[in-house]
């Protein structure tokens, strides 16, 4: 069974009228935005090319004026590509929104928002470390959490499973964890162990 069949797909629930999604539609006519009612906040799914425009409007438009970047995170959806997620809050209007920008895995470029929110500086550097997302226009893109010479892999991507790292850290430790069932099947380590057993 392929991963796509195994995974149930997320259901897009359009938000009720009168939420923040309407304000975005009003402020950004002609921009393709898929609104979605999340558990706590309204989620807007946008394309990568619209992201700088949408986020600059969210920051500066007086109806929106999102002055606080709560969080910026990268997500690896494997076959569905990468995503950069912005959680925003407005101290003026007291409203929240989540903006999800899709980024293809083979060309992970997106415009930087470090000029809009100073908080984005470190968040983007971390996302670059962990996911290899290139934030174009970032003023100081040097590694933040990882060593400067670590260019070959991005730890939080899903094609970077944990088990081979355990293997690298010590064969004995990896064996014990595999026997105890801590290493998930399909991660590559169990195959190596089985071949060696034969």
């Amino acid at each position: 069974m392929s991963p796509e069949e195994r995974r149930p797909q997320a259901v897009i629930v359009p938000p009720e009228p009168g939420t923040i999604a309407d304000l975005f539609a009003e402020a950004l006519p002609g921009v393709a935005v898929t609104p979605h009612q999340g558990v706590t906040d309204v989620i807007l799914i946008i394309g990568r090319d619209d992201a700088p425009n949408v986020l600059a409007t969210a920051r500066t438009d007086p109806r929106l004026s999102f002055d606080f970047l709560r969080n910026l995170s990268g997500v690896d959806y494997e076959e569905d590509g990468l995503e950069v997620v912005y959680h925003l809050f407005s101290y003026k209007h007291r409203h929240n929104v989540t903006i999800r920008a899709k980024v293809p895995t083979d060309d992970p470029r997106i415009g930087s928002v470090a000029g809009l929110w100073a908080a984005a500086d470190w968040h983007e550097r971390e996302a670059r470390d962990m996911f290899g997302i290139v934030f174009e226009g970032h003023p100081n893109m040097v590694p933040l959490l990882l060593p400067e010479d670590m260019f070959d892999h991005y730890p939080l991507r899903k094609d970077n499973p944990l088990a081979p790292l355990e293997e690298w850290q010590g064969e004995a430790l990896g064996d014990m964890m595999a026997q105890a069932g801590h290493i998930p099947p399909g991660s590559g380590y169990d195959v190596v162990a089985a071949e060696e057993g034969e």
């Binding site: 997320a10 558990v39 706590t40 606080f68 101290y91 989540t98 933040l144 959490l145 730890p155």
Partner: protein, 397 residues
């Protein structure tokens, strides 16, 4: 030659070189340095005693807590929450179990909610005691502030040990409630600890608040305007200390805001309690200290109300379902001792988190270090770093 007068300092203008060439020095502080509160390194570019630039280097404590959590199931990953902000372990656990409850629609029973609130607020008190002890030591009240702060803190740690079995790494909250019920004398202990916490707060208040050296070293040091603080994503006591200090072009702020998520976006049962949110007026290190000192007293107020309202009953729902939420996501934010602790939890239908992004409050607070430090003296850099009350485990995760 003028007559000699005792006490008069005679300087011949010819002996003074009017213009000495100075160069900026780069001074490395850390990573192993007691003033950096953990494994943190910063490079200060200084001109004489004045800081021209501050470049923080983090990542020495990076353990991959996000990646590890993604490889475990929902319950197993609770333990990593104690190890992000280890001074506020219950607060982090609360954020995590609430994120799972939002995805699975689990309703914890009333008693569990009160136990959670009491323990979480006690953890805020211990964290602030830790801050007061360390900050006093940073500013020259050498061992005394630590000794005062740790007396009451140890009593509270004893309660945590009696409840959860561990003094720091609790792993006591569960999705749907708490792991097991509290000891029989829990309420009596809590009432006594509330009194003791107030004693400890007032002792430190007397030791530090009017201390001349203390004031001289942190008053008007590391000021940041509310607008800049919001721009840099500061939260928690660091932001609340700046509420009264506005920039030249103040931005519009909703008047009802208290800058405290317990009030502004109530979670758990915080909407049931009566408490004040202390706000600062000057935006300096001294205000950050005052805000935290007052928060101890307000947390005691919350606990005193909670312990009287706490009902008997179950501590877990009658049936806890298998934790396997459908594809969904939630950004759960809680007011931790250091500020907004956010967990971005994504489920894709598995038994564990597909992605768990941890937004540490210390991480964002520390990113404003350069903004706060430049223009002050080298000695003030230590004060400012101390006043941010960072936990490096939360910064690096």
């Amino acid at each position: 030659m003028a007559a000699y007068n005792p006490g008069e300092i005679i300087v011949d203008p010819a002996d003074v070189e009017p213009e000495l060439d100075t160069i900026d020095l780069h001074v490395n502080v850390g990573p192993q340095h007691p003033a950096t509160h953990g494994v943190f390194r910063m490079v200060l570019q200084i001109d004489g005693e004045v800081v021209k630039d501050a470049i923080p280097h983090i990542g020495y404590m990076h353990r991959g807590a996000e990646k590890l959590s993604e490889n475990l199931d929902y319950r197993q990953a609770i333990g990593f929450q104690d190890r992000t902000d280890y001074l506020g372990g219950f607060n982090c656990e609360l954020a995590y179990v609430q994120a799972i409850e939002k995805l699975t629609n689990l309703e914890p029973p009333e008693r569990a909610l009160y136990i959670r609130t009491i323990l979480t607020e006690f953890n805020r008190i211990t964290s602030h005691f830790m801050f007061l002890g360390a900050f006093g030591t940073d500013l020259g009240v050498f061992g005394t502030s630590f000794t005062y702060a740790f007396r009451e803190r140890e009593y509270i740690q004893d309660l945590f040990e009696a409840v959860s079995g561990d003094r720091f790494m609790y792993a006591y909250f569960r999705p749907g409630g708490v792991a097991w019920d509290v000891p029989a004398d829990f309420k009596d202990k809590v009432r006594w600890l509330c009194k003791q916490a107030l004693v400890g707060a007032s002792d430190l208040d007397k030791l530090l608040t009017d201390n001349e050296i203390f004031i001289a070293r942190c008053h008007n040091v590391g000021r940041i305007t509310l607008e800049d603080a919001i721009d840099y994503g500061l939260t928690g006591p660091t932001l609340r200390a700046s509420v009264g200090y506005r920039s030249a072009t103040p931005s519009d702020i909703s008047p009802d805001l208290t800058f405290d998520l317990r009030r502004d976006e109530p979670y758990c049962i915080y909407d049931r309690f009566d408490f004040d949110v202390p706000l600062g007026s000057n935006g300096d290190s001294y205000d950050r200290y005052l805000v935290r000192l007052e928060e101890i007293r307000q947390s005691v107020r919350i606990i005193q109300q909670a312990v009287e309202q706490m009902p008997d009953g179950p501590i877990l729902p009658a049936r806890v379902p298998r934790l396997r939420p459908g594809p969904n996501e939630v950004y759960m934010r809680c007011e931790n001792p250091r500020g907004e602790y956010g967990l971005y939890l994504i489920s894709r239908g598995g038994t564990g988190p597909y992605r768990l992004r941890i937004r540490g409050a210390s991480f964002c607070n520390l990113s404003a270090l350069k903004k706060m430090t430049v223009g002050y003296y080298v000695a003030d850099a230590v004060t400012i770093l101390g006043s941010l009350d960072i936990v490096l485990c939360e910064v690096d995760r």
